[in-house]
C-alpha cells in the first residue's frame, strides 16, 4: 500500500503545485472593454445557436476582434462578417488555440460549404485532434461523404453524449474472465449483448470535467450463469497544459455481476497525458487500482494493479492506424497474506496494432494484439491427474485478432459486424491446477447509434 500512498501523495502535491503556476498562463486580453465581457461573448453564442449569423455580424465589431476569445472569434469568422478576410480570422483563432475543438470544426464547416475537397484536411485535423468524441464522429461522417447539407451546430458549455450498441453473436468457448478452460469441455452458444455509454461534460477555461458511465450486459443462451452485467463510472478532469498538451485525472470505479451474484469490484485512478502533434497523437497513462473478486475460485487474482499504457494514433489520409503498448503489474494480496502455494502476482506486457480504413461510407477495421503474462514466482501444487508434486511458473501468451466492418444505415445508425479470434498458450495444462490453453471464436452483429446535444 506504500506504492498507493506514494502515488497518491505525489499526485496530491502535483495538484497543489499546479495551482501555483496559474500565473504562467498567457495573459488574457484587457477585460475592460464591453466587447470582451463574458456576457457579451455568451450573447454571440446565443445568436449563433439561434442561427442568427446576421446578429453575430452586427454585434461583433472588427475593432474588438482582438479582445474576443478564440472560440468566439471562430464563430464570428464562420458568420462571414462583411469586408473581413474570414480565413485570416480563423487563422488568428487557430494561432491562439491550435487544438480548440470548436475552432477546428467551424473552420472545416466553413470551407466545406465552398469546397468539399479543400475541407478534407481540416476534417482530418478534427478527427485527429478533437477532444469531444461526438465532434470526431461528425468529422468522420463528413469525410465519408455521408453529409449532404451542412449540419447545424448547437453550442453549450455543457455537452452530453451517448452511444448504444445492441447485438447478438455466437461464441465457441465462453468463460468467465480470469477462468481457464472449463471442465467438461467447451459449450459453444449464441449470446445477446447490449452496451450503453453515456457522458456529460462541462467545458471550462482550464479544460473540462465530466462524468462518464458505461454499462454492458451479455446473456448466453445455454449458460445463463455466465451472463455478465458490467458497470463502470469515471470522473475525468482535463487540464489543458499547453497549446498541444492535456493532462487528465481519471478516478474510476466499476462493479460487475455474474447472474445475480457480485463478480468484481474495482476502484482506482489514472493520470493521462496527451500530446497532439501534426502527424500523430500520443497518450501516456499511468493508473493504480485495486480489485476484489467475489467468486472464491478467482479471488486469489485480486490485489493492487499498477498499469502503464502508451498509445499512438497516426492519421495519413483515409487511413488511421494506432499502436498501443502496456505493462501491468499485479501484486496479488493472497500471495503474501496467506502464503499460498499457487502464486498469482504477475507482470503483463502487451501490444496492439489497429488499422482503420474509411471507404465510401464503409469503414474497415482490423485489430491485432498480443500479450505476455509472467508470474513473479513459480507455483507448487499436486497434479490433478498424475497426483505428483509439481512446480511451474505460469507464463502465458495470448493473441487476439479482430477484423470488422461498419456500414452506415440511416442518420446516426450504423451496423457493425466483426469476427474475433483469441488464443492463449500456457505451460499450464490439464494436469496442472488450471488449464489455461484456450481458444475462442466469436462472431457478432451489432446495431450502433449515438446522440449528442451538438
Amino acid at each position: 500500500m506504500i506504492a498507493a500512498r506514494f502515488f497518491g501523495l505525489a499526485v496530491l502535491l502535483a495538484c497543489l503545485s499546479f495551482s501555483a503556476h496559474a500565473d504562467d498562463a498567457v495573459p488574457p486580453p484587457e477585460p475592460n472593454a464591453k466587447q470582451s465581457s463574458r456576457d457579451f461573448q455568451w450573447q454571440i453564442v446565443e445568436f449563433f445557436n439561434s442561427e442568427r449569423c446576421d446578429l453575430v455580424r452586427d454585434a461583433a465589431k472588427p475593432s474588438s476582434y482582438s479582445l474576443l476569445r478564440p472560440n468566439i472569434l471562430a464563430i464570428v469568422a464562420f458568420c462571414e462578417p462583411r469586408g473581413q478576410d474570414h480565413e485570416k480570422l480563423f487563422r488568428e483563432a487557430e494561432k491562439r488555440d491550435p487544438t480548440g475543438d470548436l475552432i477546428m470544426v467551424l473552420h472545416a464547416k466553413y470551407v466545406w460549404k465552398r469546397s468539399k475537397e479543400k475541407a478534407r484536411p481540416l476534417w482530418e485535423n478534427v478527427l485527429k485532434h478533437a477532444r469531444n468524441t461526438y465532434l470526431k464522429s461528425m468529422a468522420k461522417r463528413y469525410l465519408e461523404g455521408e453529409v449532404e447539407k451542412d449540419e447545424i451546430l448547437h453550442l453549450s458549455p455543457w455537452s452530453y453524449q451517448g452511444k448504444f450498441r445492441l447485438g447478438g453473436g455466437y461464441e465457441s468457448n465462453p468463460v468467465f474472465p480470469y477462468a481457464g478452460n472449463p471442465g467438461g469441455g467447451k459449450r459453444p452458444q449464441s449470446y445477446g449483448t447490449f452496451k450503453a455509454n453515456g457522458g456529460v461534460q462541462r467545458w471550462v477555461s482550464f479544460g473540462s470535467y465530466a462524468a462518464n458511465y458505461e454499462g454492458s450486459y451479455v446473456r448466453y443462451s445455454k449458460s445463463p450463469e455466465l451472463s455478465m452485467f458490467g458497470n463502470q463510472l469515471e470522473v475525468p478532469i482535463t487540464f489543458r497544459l499547453g497549446a498541444y498538451e492535456d493532462i487528465v485525472f481519471r478516478p474510476f470505479a466499476g462493479l460487475s455481476y455474474a447472474g445475480s451474484r457480485s463478480f468484481e469490484q474495482k476502484m482506482g485512478f489514472g493520470i493521462l497525458g496527451v500530446a497532439y502533434r501534426p502527424e500523430y497523437k500520443q497518450s501516456v497513462q499511468g493508473s493504480i487500482f485495486t480489485n476484489n473478486l467475489f467468486f472464491p475460485e478467482f479471488n486469489a487474482e485480486e490485489g493492487t494493479h499498477l498499469r502503464f499504457d502508451y498509445n499512438w494514433e497516426f492519421f495519413p489520409s483515409r487511413w488511421t492506424y494506432r499502436f498501443q503498448a502496456f505493462m501491468e503489474h499485479l501484486r496479488a494480496v493472497n500471495d503474501f497474506d496467506n502464503g499460498t502455494d499457487i502464486k498469482h502476482s504477475h507482470t503483463d506486457l502487451g501490444g496492439l496494432f489497429g488499422l482503420q480504413l474509411m471507404g465510401q461510407g464503409i469503414t474497415y477495421e482490423f485489430d491485432f494484439s498480443a500479450s505476455f503474462r509472467l508470474d513473479s514466482l513459480p507455483s507448487e501444487y499436486t497434479g490433478r491427474q498424475s497426483g505428483v508434486r509439481l512446480r511451474k511458473r505460469r507464463n502465458d501468451v495470448t493473441i487476439d485478432a479482430k477484423p470488422g466492418v461498419t456500414i452506415p444505415l440511416w442518420r446516426d445508425f450504423d451496423l457493425n459486424a466483426f469476427y474475433e479470434y483469441t488464443r492463449t498458450f500456457s505451460p499450464l495444462r490439464q494436469d496442472d491446477y488450471t488449464d489455461y490453453n484456450m481458444e475462442d471464436h466469436a462472431i457478432e452483429l451489432v446495431l450502433l447509434t449515438e446522440f449528442s446535444n451538438y
Partner: protein
C-alpha cells in the same frame, strides 16, 4: 479504502485548482506528471521516442526485478525481499534492477522538469521561484562526489566523517549473528557491488535531484516558506523509506535540504555527501555479511550464533 481516500483528496485538490491553457508547458505539470507516469515528461515535451525508451527502461528494470523473487511493499530502494537463505543471488540482482529503474525514473523526472523550467524561464512564476533552478547535467551530478570544492565544504566533510565514525563504532560494538550457511562468492561480490556502488550512485543522482531539486523547489514556490518546503520534501523522502530507515531518512532529508538552500539550489554538495555516506554504509553492510560467515574484517565485531541477512 486508502486508495479511495487518496482519490477523494486528489479530486478535492483538482476541483480547487485554478489554471488556464499555457503558451509554454507548465514545468510543474511536466515534473509531477512524469513522477507518476514514466515517459510522460518526454511525451509532453515532444520527444515520444525518448519517452518510450525511458518508460521501457524504468518499468522494465523495476518490474523485471520482481521476477523470481519474493515481493514486499514499495520503498525507495525497491520492493524485493531478500530471504534469509543462501539463495541471495537473484534477490540481489532483482533489488539492483529495481534500484536502477526507480532512481533512473527519479532522475528523468527532474531532468524533464528542469528542461521545461528552462524553456519557461520567461514566465512570471518561474522568474519568481524562490529556490534557483539547478542547471547541471547528469555528468555534473556523477562527477559531484569527486569534486574537491564539494568535498571540502564545511557542510560535507564533517557529515561524512561523523557518519563514518558512527557507523564504524556501531559495527564494532554490535554483535553479528553467524549464518548457518555459506553465501556463494558470486552472491557476496554482487552484494558488495550493489551496496558500495549501485546504491550510492543511483541514490545520489536519483534522489537528490528529485527531492531537493524538484520537490523542494516546487514546495518552496507553493508555500512561500523554506521551512515548510524543507519539511514537506523530507516527509515525502521519509515516507518512501522502509520503516527502519525512516528516522535517518527524515534527518538526512532535512540536512540535505538545508544544504541545498545554503548553496542557492545547487544540489551537488548534497549529492557528494549522500554518495559518500551511502558508500560507507554499503561497506559496513558488506563487512557485516562477511563477518556473519565467520570471516575477518576490519573493526571486527563479536559473532554470535544464528542468522539474518542484514538488509
Amino acid at each position: 479504502m486508502k486508495t479511495l481516500l487518496i482519490t477523494i483528496l486528489v479530486l478535492l485538490q483538482v476541483l480547487a485548482m485554478p489554471t488556464r491553457a499555457h503558451a509554454l508547458l507548465n514545468p510543474s505539470a511536466v515534473g509531477w506528471g512524469n513522477l507518476v507516469v514514466p515517459g510522460l515528461g518526454a511525451t509532453l515535451r515532444g520527444y515520444p521516442r525518448q519517452g518510450l525508451t525511458e518508460a521501457g527502461l524504468e518499468l522494465g528494470t523495476y518490474f523485471g526485478g520482481t521476477y523470481g523473487v519474493r515481493e514486499g511493499g514499495f520503498t525507495i530502494d525497491g520492493s524485493v525481499k531478500v530471504p534469509t537463505s543462501r539463495n541471495m543471488l537473484s534477490p540481489v540482482i532483482g533489488q539492483s534492477l529495481q534500484e536502477f529503474g526507480l532512481k533512473y525514473h527519479f532522475h528523468n523526472t527532474f531532468y524533464h522538469y528542469q528542461q521545461a523550467a528552462i524553456d519557461a524561464q520567461d514566465t512570471e512564476s518561474e522568474r519568481n521561484k524562490k529556490q534557483p533552478l539547478y542547471y547541471g547535467s547528469w555528468k555534473d551530478m556523477l562527477g559531484a562526489p569527486f569534486q574537491w570544492k564539494n568535498l571540502s565544504s564545511i557542510w560535507v566533510f564533517p557529515l561524512i566523517t561523523a557518519s563514518a565514525a558512527y557507523l564504524i563504532y556501531e559495527y564494532q560494538n554490535t554483535e553479528v549473528k553467524r549464518f548457518g550457511f555459506r553465501v556463494s562468492r558470486d552472491a557476496e561480490a554482487l552484494y558488495g557491488f550493489q551496496q558500495m556502488a549501485v546504491i550510492p550512485i543511483t541514490g545520489a543522482i536519483g534522489e537528490e535531484p528529485l527531492f531537493r531539486g524538484f520537490v523542494m523547489r516546487e514546495m518552496r514556490a507553493n508555500t512561500g516558506s523554506a521551512v515548510a518546503a524543507l519539511a514537506i520534501q523530507s516527509a515525502m523522502f521519509t515516507l518512501v523509506h522502509p520503516s527502519e530507515l525512516r528516522a535517518s531518512g527524515f534527518l538526512s532529508g532535512i540536512y540535505f535540504g538545508m544544504m541545498t538552500n545554503h548553496f542557492d539550489g545547487n544540489i551537488e554538495p548534497a549529492i557528494a555527501a549522500h554518495f559518500w555516506v551511502n558508500v560507507i554504509d554499503g561497506l559496513i553492510a558488506y563487512w557485516t555479511l562477511q563477518r556473519s560467515q565467520g570471516k575477518e574484517t576490519p573493526f571486527a565485531p563479536p559473532i554470535t550464533a544464528n542468522v539474518t541477512v542484514p538488509f
